[in-house]
Symmetry: C2
Amino acid sequence: MDSTPSTSTISKSVVLALRVLTFVFLLIALILIAINKGTEDTTNGPLEAKFNDFHAYRYMLSTIVIGFAYNILQMALSIFIVVSGKRVISGDGGYFFDFFGDKIISYLLISGSAAGYGVSDDLHSFFKAQELPFNSFFAKANASATLLLFAFLFTAIASVFTSLALPKKT
Amino acid sequence: MDSTPSTSTISKSVVLALRVLTFVFLLIALILIAINKGTEDTTNGPLEAKFNDFHAYRYMLSTIVIGFAYNILQMALSIFIVVSGKRVISGDGGYFFDFFGDKIISYLLISGSAAGYGVSDDLHSFFKAQELPFNSFFAKANASATLLLFAFLFTAIASVFTSLALPKKT
């Protein structure tokens, strides 16, 4: 590593800030999708829609929860590094943990967001054609998918930093 | 770079093999989704479904086409490197092109696959409930999304190699 200690500290602080942002966005996305409910009146009485009526939203929620847990772990590790200047996992292991962790979690987050957007758009058209628009329900689900997309972007940027921090192969 | 020339040549050949695999899988995925058509008989005559009736499948097709174009470019560059031992883009630029290219394209491919799976699953349930199963149509769309998922996996593995090949920051 020929980067000066100050450069390294700055990039660690940037990564920590990105993880805090990811955490906040995932938290709001989680609340939005988990409490999302919609009701439409039909001739057979009111019809209710919840996130767990749709596989894609359940998958989206799973990716949010996994990303959330990963970010809590990483924030704890990052705060420890910023405060103490030492890494919890010694040697190259920590760098590879960050590298693969950010890579896998960012893939997971974008897949959750894409599945959510994918189903919202076409299913909403379909429900509208049946005179059961559920507009507010789909709007909230899309808002959650958008927050998840931002959380993905923060993690993807963090992933660039943790890729650049990789030690060279020996 | 303290890796020996032979290690470097092996990893370049592995990356090239991964790109060829990605190319083949994307080509089949492209054909499968583009020619996909389904017909169900209704009381108002036959009802036809095509990929471009659904936003998610159109997005999926777009990601396949972009990934396909990127892989043709990268295969041409890789073959040039393997044959001549030289990189087309001199200096560190080529490494960063590979790094960001693989990263962005792999995110694009998994998002296309997730959007496709997301809409197939829930929309298929919905069509089945309407006595219009379109089973073969959704099965072929899912097969295309699966091939796209494999193409993503190959690109993600190539992305690990191109991340490890990054020169250190100076």
